[in-house]
C-alpha cells in the first residue's frame, strides 16, 4: 500500500550554466564559449512536509540549485514545478505572488539583514509588500513572530539595528522575517554554518518547530553531513553539478553506495577520541566545473573507477524504491 504525499516541488533536468568571462583576445581565439556548469541536469522532488537536503562540498552546485528552485536565478534549461504549477518562466506580479509562499534563509547572518533598517522594520517589511498589515497591526504581528523565534521581550528588539545583535540573534531575525508570511516552502542555505556551535541547535530546533506548526517543507542545503543526518528526511548528495546518490536518511548513512558518498562519510569528524579513523581513499582534488571530466564526473578520483566510467555518464539506478545511485560499478 502506497501513501502518496503530494509533491510540493518538482525539479526536472535543471541546468544552470554560467558563461565564463573571457578577455577580448581569448574570445577571438576560442572557438566556442566555455561555461561553468554549476548545475547539470538535476532532477528531484520534494514531498509536502518533508526536509529534503542537498549535500555536498563547495562547488558541487547545491547552493545554485537552491537559488534556482526559488527563482532567484533563472535556469539555463529545465523545469521547476511548485504545487503542480510550472513556475519556471513566471515573471512580474505572478512571480511576486509566488514569493509569498517560498522563502529563503541565507547563510551569512551578518550580511542578510539591511544594516540601516531596524529589526522591526526588516521583519515587518514582507507584510507591507503584500499589503497584509500596517501600523499597529503590523507591529503586533512582528512582536508575535519575534516571540516565536525566542527573541523576547519583543519590544526590546524591535527598535534595534542589526549591529546590536549577535550572529545567532541575527539569524533568528532572518528566520522571523521568512516565516511572518506563513510560507509553504523554505530553502535553508547553510543556515547554521556561520553560527557558534553551541547556538546551532537553537536555530535548528526552531526550524523543526516551524515545520510542525506551519506545515513547512524544507530544502536544506549544507556541506555538514552531521547536521544533515540530524535534520533530514531525505538526502541527495551532489558532486560537480550532478546528483550522485539520493535516498532516505537511514539508507544514505547506513548503506552509502556511491564511492563519493562513502568517502564523504568516512571523512566526517566524529567527536570521539577513542574511535579509530579510517583513511579516505580519494586522490586528487575536485576538478574545475568548466572542464568537467568525461563520462562519470567522479572517475578521476574514484578508487573503483574502470575504463567504462570515463566513457559514459551513469544513470540514476534504483537500489530500493527510494534509494538511487548514479554509478555503473554498483551491484544492485
Amino acid at each position: 500500500m502506497q501513501k502518496t504525499l503530494s509533491e510540493i516541488i518538482k525539479a526536472e533536468n535543471l541546468k544552470k550554466y554560467f558563461p565564463v568571462q573571457k578577455s577580448f583576445l581569448e574570445q577571438m581565439l576560442a572557438r566556442k564559449a566555455s561555461y561553468v556548469k554549476a548545475v547539470d541536469n538535476v532532477t528531484f522532488s520534494i514531498k509536502k512536509g518533508e526536509i529534503f537536503t542537498l549535500a555536498g562540498e563547495s562547488g558541487c552546485g547545491k547552493t545554485t540549485t537552491g537559488r534556482l528552485v526559488v527563482r532567484l536565478l533563472e535556469p539555463t534549461s529545465g523545469k521547476i514545478c511548485f504545487d503542480g504549477e510550472d513556475i519556471t518562466k513566471l515573471r512580474g506580479e505572478k512571480l511576486r505572488m509566488l514569493r509569498r509562499k517560498m522563502q529563503i534563509i541565507f547563510q551569512d547572518p551578518y550580511a542578510s539583514l539591511n544594516p540601516r533598517m531596524r529589526i522591526g522594520d526588516s521583519i515587518g517589511h514582507p507584510l507591507e509588500i503584500y499589503g497584509m498589515a500596517k501600523g499597529k497591526e503590523k507591529m503586533k504581528m512582528v512582536s508575535e513572530v519575534l516571540e516565536k523565534v525566542g527573541l523576547t521581550p519583543p519590544e526590546q528588539f524591535i527598535g534595534l539595528y542589526p549591529l546590536n545583535l549577535s550572529g545567532g540573534q541575527r539569524q533568528r531575525v532572518a528566520l522571523a522575517r521568512s516565516i511572518i508570511l506563513k510560507p509553504e516552502f523554505m530553502i535553508a542555505d547553510e543556515p547554521v554554518s556561520m553560527i557558534d556551535v553551541s547556538l546551532r541547535t537553537t536555530i535548528i530546533d526552531l526550524m523543526l518547530g516551524f515545520r510542525k506548526e506551519l506545515g513547512l517543507t524544507y530544502l536544506f542545503v549544507t556541506h555538514d553531513l552531521a547536521v544533515a543526518k540530524y535534520i533530514s528526511d531525505r538526502i541527495a548528495i551532489m558532486y560537480l553539478g550532478k546528483i550522485v546518490e539520493m535516498g532516505n536518511k537511514e539508507e544514505i548513512f547506513s548503506n552509502p553506495m556511491h564511492p563519493y558518498t562513502q568517502a564523504l562519510l568516512l571523512a566526517i569528524p566524529v567527536p570521539d577520541p577513542e574511535r579509530k579513523r579510517k583513511d579516505v581513499e580519494l586522490k586528487g582534488e575536485v576538478p574545475s566545473a568548466i572542464n568537467v571530466p568525461s563520462g562519470c564526473r567522479f572517475h578521476t578520483r574514484c578508487p573503483k573507477a574502470e575504463k567504462t566510467c570515463a566513457e559514459k555518464e551513469p544513470e540514476m539506478i534504483p537500489v530500493s524504491p527510494s534509494h538511487f545511485v548514479a554509478c555503473v560499478q554498483v551491484e544492485v
Binding site: 526559488v70 542578510s112 539583514l113 509588500i129 521568512s178
Partner: protein, 300 residues
C-alpha cells in the same frame, strides 16, 4: 520693526541649537575627526549667520559710493577700508557672502537631485543603459571643471541661478560616479538578495535597501562639493561671468581688489579672499571629518 524680526530669528536659532547641541556633543567624543567636523560646522555656521543678519548690522549701504574717501586703507571709521568707488569694505564683506552661499547651495541641491537618482537608477538597472549613461558622464567628468563652468556661464549669462546651473553640471558626474560604485557593490550583497526574495519591487529595494547604505558616501561628496562650488563661483565672478555689479559679492571684490593691488591697496582683495577661504575650509573640514567617521572601520 527691525527688532521684532531679530527676536524671532534669535528664537529660531536657539531652538535649532537646542536640537544640535546633543549631536555635537556625541561628535566631540569621536576623536579628532569629530572635532574636525565640529570646527567645520562652526565656521560655516558663523559665516551663514553673519550673512543672514548682515542687512541689519551693516553700518552702511554697501553699494553707495563716496561714503568715505576713495581707496583708503583700514581705519577706525572704515575697519576694512574703502574701494576705488569709495564704498565701505566692511559692509561689502558682511553682505558679500550672500551670492556665493546661494550659488553654492543651489548648485549642490541641483547636483544632488540629478546626480544621485541617475546614479542609483543607472547602476541598479545595469546593462547597456548603464554603459551608455556612464560613457556620457565620464566624458563630462574628463573635462576640467572650471572650463565647463565658464563655457556654460558664458552661454547662459549672469545671474545667481545661471551660475548655480553651470557649476552644477560640473559636479553631477562626481555624485553619479560615487553613487554608482557604491550601488554596484551593494546590489550584490545578501540583504539585497533577501529583499528580492521577500518580493520587494525594484524601486522599494533601491529606496529602502540600497540608498540608505549609499548615503554615507554621498554626504562626504556633498560637503566637499560645497567647498568646490564656493571656489568655482569665486572663479566665475573673478573673470566677469558672475552676477551684476550692483550686488556686493566677495568674488567681485576679488577682481576689483586685484586691480587695486598694483597700486599698493591690499585690503580690497584680502578681506573677501579670507572669507572665501574660510567658507571653503569650513566645508572641507566637515567633509573630511565625516568621511573619516562614516567609513566603516574594522572593530577589534
Amino acid at each position: 520693526m527691525m527688532e521684532k524680526k531679530e527676536m524671532s530669528e534669535t528664537k529660531v536659532k536657539r531652538s535649532i541649537l537646542a536640537r544640535l547641541l546633543p549631536q555635537l556633543r556625541s561628535l566631540s567624543k569621536r576623536g579628532p575627526s569629530g572635532w574636525m567636523v565640529i570646527v567645520g560646522i562652526v565656521i560655516v555656521a558663523v559665516l551663514v549667520i553673519m550673512t543672514a543678519i548682515a542687512p541689519w548690522i551693516a553700518p552702511r549701504d554697501p553699494n553707495r559710493a563716496n561714503v568715505g574717501p576713495l581707496r583708503s586703507p583700514p581705519s577706525l571709521q572704515f575697519p576694512m577700508g574703502t574701494t576705488a568707488l569709495g564704498q565701505d569694505m566692511f559692509s561689502r564683506v558682511l553682505l558679500g557672502g550672500s551670492v556665493m552661499l546661494q550659488v553654492s547651495a543651489i548648485s549642490v541641491f541641483v547636483c544632488f537631485l540629478v546626480g544621485v537618482p541617475m546614479g542609483l537608477f543607472s547602476s541598479y538597472v545595469g546593462g547597456n543603459l548603464d554603459k551608455a549613461i556612464s560613457l556620457v558622464i565620464d566624458a563630462v567628468y574628463a573635462f576640467p571643471g572650471l572650463v565647463i563652468a565658464i563655457a556654460i556661464a558664458a552661454v547662459l549669462g549672469p545671474g545667481v541661478i545661471n551660475m548655480a546651473l553651470s557649476i552644477a553640471v560640473v559636479y553631477i558626474p562626481s555624485y553619479f560616479r560615487i553613487v554608482r560604485s557604491q550601488v554596484l557593490s551593494i546590489k550584490e550583497l545578501t540583504y539585497v538578495e533577501a529583499a528580492r526574495s521577500i518580493g520587494a519591487k525594484w524601486y522599494t529595494i533601491l529606496l529602502r535597501y540600497v540608498l540608505p547604505n549609499v548615503v554615507p558616501s554621498i554626504v562626504t561628496v556633498l560637503t566637499v562639493n560645497f567647498a568646490d562650488a564656493v571656489l568655482t563661483a569665486a572663479g566665475l565672478t573673478f573673470i566677469g561671468l558672475g552676477v551684476s555689479v550692483d550686488i556686493p559679492d566677495w568674488g567681485y571684490d576679488l577682481t576689483k581688489g586685484r586691480e587695486l593691488l598694483s597700486s599698493g591697496g591690499w585690503w580690497v582683495i584680502t578681506f573677501p579672499g579670507i572669507m572665501i577661504i574660510l567658507l571653503a575650509l569650513g566645508f572641507t573640514f566637515i567633509g573630511e571629518g565625516l568621511s573619516e567617521l562614516l567609513n566603516p572601520k574594522l572593530e577589534d
